[in-house]
Symmetry: C2
Subunit: 358 residues, 2 copies
């Protein structure tokens, strides 16, 4: 049993390999060979926080397998969540478990023996699987030749998606917008150096999107902010969650693909009515979209749904929610490579086995 | 972070404490304070077995919390499953992960800090939580004075339920029936010594059930075997799974309580059509029962549904499926007691934390 660190995982993973591993995975997903269980979200009341705001414990779990990789994974996180009122409603803050420390784990099992073969933190893999999944979808939906990429958001996920995109498309320039000038400025400087091409911070959302061939959104917005007015022929939209396109923009897209039709299952303690209320209203706009009518990334990669057909089509990929199988594929790749290199801490596998028959 | 063994868990748990901990838990369950997520079952194809029978990897997970105990738990198991044909259909065999070793774990989290505080094997707790849950239900549903207990099944679960029952009811004698004379004989001898009262092996099912005040079933049967003919006024039926009562017997019961209305969620690979077929037909009879009309154990313990009202009533408890919250309550109790006694192996909690913000 190998215990890996984020540093070790980052050492062995590169964008092209992760994207190709996911391409193999989504072949399986589209043909029903790889399956996942719905993400389960469990909330119970926590102690009052020093600032008086209510808190909750949030235990999240999702499972999935990748037959080609010979592994199944269970990804789980245990978070202390605090709900802080601000003018636009309740904002959710994840407090650390210990100062500067969070708890997110991937348990990796060998499909052949059933053994627990690795325990990995989910940080690096979480970001890479999201960025790589969107880039994989972009590869089927964006025009082969694109010049200008607009990025909304300047956080880690925006960075991950933009880096991943560079593995499937060449592009000439990037324009980034996020509300805080300092954040978008830093993002532009960092990504210009990394991508070795012009990345500029835009002064307005409209300036970022003007003339873009691909618009990627990586924000925490719970309200659609991409209006129909931004949509022009040939544009590809690639979002990291389900609330970023306005319902009108969704209607204006010619070809929309969602990540999956497997949605989360919530269990919220009656001791947390405010959390329940928030969760129920969590996706107020996107809850009204008939997502079940759209094909999935698995359909796309397995050839059961067509990708882009014409240059002037408007396409979109909505990464509505994650899949446990993504963790099986990416953590499986990291585990194999770490094992080859002798990376990680070996723990006695007997610690996690028992003599009692189930 | 404390790593515990089955031996340590068994040392610190006793039936009365486990039953009382579960009584507190079901008060929370009945009022919606403690919640659980549906059990998720994930099946992917495994390698062909030496005897040629198809195999699967089965990853199972279930989560739940217990606010009074300050903990949430995720219980998971990773099993190698082989389907063997026999005259009555496919029989499921769980093969060990390593010779004589199985993988079932409980991860226990502190609701206040979010930290992973313990990892426990699920063997001892699995058996105790089932037996104690049925005994708790029996305490609300069986007549206060009972004399004869009939037991169907001679495995570990039958033993656990019978031992747990002895904590909530005194009774004078036990009659056990299971198909193999040697098994029921050994069970009778063992339990007679342990319970210090007569336990006899019956020659026929009818001889076991004749004159019984309480009939407990702990079998693997996938077809109801308790007919209406066995039901007499005042009888209490207590089953460890959903398939043991015939639909007609269910109809003949005056007051029936189920464990929970939270059913499992299946995800089965298309690479396993035979497993999918089997799973869909897994509970052919009980699938036709309108379980959703019955109150749950939480309703009963929280006073939202009445227990037995009259001596001649026929009552039944059907332990249809487990709840993650049971593992939170029982593992939480074991963890607190092991901590007090200094039992278990301390692991560095930093191994399971990361610096990356989720």
């Amino acid at each position: 049993m190998r215990l890996l660190s984020n540093e070790e995982v980052a050492t062995v993973l590169d964008w092209p390999s992760v994207i190709e591993e996911l391409r193999k995975l989504y072949q399986e997903v589209g043909s029903g060979i790889s399956v996942s269980t719905p993400r389960t979200d469990l909330h119970h009341p926590g102690p009052p926080s020093p600032d008086g705001s209510p808190t909750a414990h949030y235990l999240k779990a999702m499972g999935g397998g990748f037959v080609g990789g010979g592994v199944a994974a269970l990804r789980l996180s245990s978070d202390r969540v605090r709900f802080v009122s601000n003018p636009s409603g309740l904002r959710r803050v994840k407090d650390p478990v210990r100062p500067g420390r969070w708890l997110g784990l991937i348990l990796l099992f060998d499909l052949h023996t059933g053994e627990l073969v690795a325990v990995l933190p989910d940080g690096v893999i979480q970001r890479m699987r999201v960025g790589a999944t969107n880039a994989l979808a972009d590869d089927y939906l964006a025009r082969p030749e694109i010049e200008t990429v607009a990025v909304f958001g300047s956080g880690d996920q925006a960075e991950a998606h933009l880096q991943a995109l560079a593995s499937v498309r060449s592009f000439d320039r990037v324009r980034v917008w996020s509300p805080t000038p300092e954040h978008r400025g830093r993002f532009a400087a960092r990504m210009q150096e990394r991508l070795e091409r012009p990345v500029e911070a835009a002064d307005t959302p409209e300036a970022a999107v003007a003339g873009a061939d691909l618009l990627m959104t990586a924000t925490n917005s719970r309200q659609g902010f991409v209006p129909v007015a931004w949509i022009r022929p040939g544009l590809h939209l690639s979002t990291l969650q389900r609330d970023e396109l306005t319902p009108a923009a969704i209607q204006a897209v010619d070809r929309l693909v969602v990540h999956t039709q497997l949605w989360e299952v919530n269990a919220t303690s009656a001791g947390l009515p405010w959390v329940e209320g928030r969760l129920l209203r969590d996706h107020p706009e996107s809850a009204s979209v008939a997502w079940e009518g759209y094909p999935t990334l698995g359909d796309l990669v397995a050839g059961r749904a067509p990708g882009r057909q014409r240059g002037e089509e408007v396409t979109a990929f909505v990464n509505n929610i994650g899949l446990g199988a993504q963790f099986a594929a990416v953590a499986g790749l990291a585990w194999r490579r770490c094992r080859e290199l002798g990376l990680g801490r070996e723990l006695d596998p007997e610690w996690f086995l028992q003599a009692m028959h189930p």
